[in-house]
């Protein structure tokens, strides 16, 4: 992929999206989380062991903005889990674009989780593989796959990564 369309300005704009996304989750501002996606979208959290052999099963798999909203409604009102915080660290974004309109982005992430007992643990690490598009002037995720290495999920996963 030729990358000549990737200006510094666009690169910053994509990185701002990556940063704002994790800040939204870590700040527990989850009602805003679906807004990072286009109406028609695909969000999945999939173990690397499935992804690498072409098996489709994901632990979260949402193919509409509505499904993303339903995840958050469930988290707030339906599911039962310990009080917990996430803290994302993201790094090494590689951004590619042919036309300055659609961006293929890959970055690494680590999520630390802290529960009531105050201990922070490495909860889930992996990489994001994204397709980012401009939607009414704003960059959004059309596809976001969190492909996780930590294929043994401790207790449960309720907050999206």
């Amino acid at each position: 992929m030729a990358n000549s369309s990737l200006t510094l300005e666009l690169k910053n704009e994509v990185e701002d999206l990556l940063n704002a996304y994790v800040q939204c989750i870590d700040d527990d501002d989850l009602e805003r989380w679906p807004e990072f996606f286009t109406d028609e979208c695909l969000y999945q959290v999939i173990p690397r062991e499935n992804h690498e052999v072409g098996l489709p099963t994901a632990v979260m798999w949402c193919d509409s903005r509505g499904m993303l909203e339903d995840r958050i409604t469930a988290l707030r009102h339906a599911n039962v889990y310990q009080v917990q915080w996430y803290r994302h660290i993201i790094s090494n974004p590689v951004i590619k674009t042919d036309d300055g309109e659609t961006f293929h982005v890959q970055s690494n992430y680590a999520v630390f989780k802290t529960c009531n007992d105050g201990e922070s643990t490495v909860y889930n690490i992996g990489r994001y593989v994204d397709e980012v598009v401009r939607d009414k002037g704003v960059l959004k995720f059309k596809k976001r796959s969190a492909i996780y290495d930590t294929h043994r999920i401790t207790t449960l996963m309720v907050i999206p990564v």
Binding site: P47, T57, V59, M60, E69, D70, N79, V80, T154, M157
Partner: protein, 417 residues
């Protein structure tokens, strides 16, 4: 059987399965006895779906209890299993979760002792020494140094293993109803859709209880109750076979109105019909694929397997104890080889309901830890398991803890406690 009972385990001697001392969930001696008497005893343990080892040379690493085991498909197309421990100096032989041995050999990396798919020893480097020096004594016989073998059975595509010669025939072991429901779900060749793993900091038996507990299902899980995926008021049964195996089944949309009215009177947190709504209902737009109209089956085969159908989700859940207060739950999701693309996509979407992030199932990991956290002291105190009477048996309804009593009846007999 060795009749050692941990002296501090105070479990009343009468035939009463309505109260279990908490130390059973948090005692190293009990845990070690379980490995000996249950997992090394006369039980069938789930190893794999046949579809996970599809070709000659395919293998999968797994466990029976906490003992590492490899299940293989030999060059003769038969399925074998053995303990993943070199007969030489005890090293782990197979180090991948899944794979294929092109030449059918399994070689320990430490000293390159080589075995076949059956676990028989074929190669010992330097057996006759080098230039007349060293080597094994003349009486060394490779035939005496096979891997520890596991007896294997392939039941309609589900592969089970046992260490004991006393384990009965698989169908006799399961019982009539459990084997019927196993065949119902495994009625045609399956296609594996993926695996997820959940690590839960609780005793494995808290999870076993959970899978035999129709009482909790509409009280802990809002999605079940609110959307009618499962309610205790539905038509269904709780069936026990050979005490500790069970089937729970329910048919969605078959409400007993009087029962549902009673449920509504209890003002349950989890029953919010008309209040709690989804933006995208496609999650619940399933397809009836079984003629009997049954929409939920939780089949619990002691000690290590749960087979489930919830709506259009199908999965094996393998329970692997990792210590007295930890276990791993391995979810193997499947469909059928003849699934249409539409049905396959329904399954993939509905997998949101199950697994470690399952809108229904995530709470089961939580409930297990809730119990473990609270029972670390007062091991002589007991729980109360009396819903629908005191007998260890199934019922023609879902308002019961009879299957949990069955679990403890079978457990005590097998453990000799």
């Amino acid at each position: 059987m060795n009749a050692i009972t941990p002296p501090h385990l105070k479990w009343s001697a009468d035939e009463n399965y309505t109260s279990v001392p908490y130390s059973v969930f948090n005692d190293q001696e009990v845990y070690d006895l379980e490995q000996a008497r249950i997992y090394n005893g006369p039980t069938w343990n789930f190893l794999a779906s046949e579809a996970e080892i599809p070709e000659k040379g395919s293998f999968k690493s797994t466990y029976i209890g906490d003992t590492p085991v490899v299940v293989t498909r030999g060059q003769d197309d038969e399925i074998y299993a053995w303990v993943n421990r070199c007969a030489h100096r005890g090293a782990e032989i197979c180090r991948e979760r899944h794979g294929k041995s092109e030449d059918g050999a399994y070689t320990c990396v430490y000293h390159q002792w080589a075995y076949d798919a059956k676990g028989d020893l074929h190669g010992v480097p330097f057996q006759r020494g080098l230039a007349g020096k060293g080597g094994m004594p003349k009486d060394f016989d490779k035939k005496q140094h096979s891997l520890r073998k596991v007896r294997v059975v392939n039941y309609h595509g589900a592969v089970f293993g046992t260490f004991s010669d006393d384990t009965p025939d698989i169908e006799e072991y399961m019982g009539e109803d459990v084997s019927h429901h196993m065949r119902r779900i495994l009625n045609k060749p399956v296609e594996i859709l993926g695996t997820t793993r959940q690590y839960i900091k609780g005793n494995w038996k808290f999870y076993s209880e959970n899978t035999k507990d129709p009482y909790h299902a509409s009280l802990l899980h809002l999605f079940h109750a609110t959307f009618g995926l499962y309610r205790s008021s539905q038509k269904g049964e709780s069936i026990a076979n050979n005490d500790y195996h069970s089937v729970l089944w329910a048919s969605g949309g078959t409400e007993d109105e009087a029962a549902l009215d009673d449920m509504k009177k209890d003002k349950l947190r989890t029953l919010q019909t008309g209040e709690y709504e989804l933006q995208d209902m496609s999650l619940l737009a399933g397809k009836q694929e079984f003629e009997d109209g049954v929409t939920l089956v939780i089949l619990s085969l002691f000690p290590s397997l749960v087979v489930q159908q919830i709506q259009n989700t199908l999965a094996f859940r393998q329970i692997l104890p990792k210590g007295k207060d930890e276990f791993e739950l391995v979810w193997t999701y499947f469909g059928y080889k003849d699934d249409t693309e539409e049905l396959r996509n329904i399954r993939l979407k509905q997998f949101n309901l199950i697994g470690p992030a399952g809108l229904i199932s995530m709470e089961d990991g939580e409930s297990t830890e809730l119990c473990q956290n609270a029972i670390i002291r007062d091991g002589e105190f007991t729980n109360v398991i009396r819903m629908a009477g005191d007998e260890a048996k199934g019922d023609d309804h879902l308002v019961t803890e009879g299957l949990i009593r069955g679990l403890w009846k079978g457990y005590r007999e097998l453990m000799d406690l």
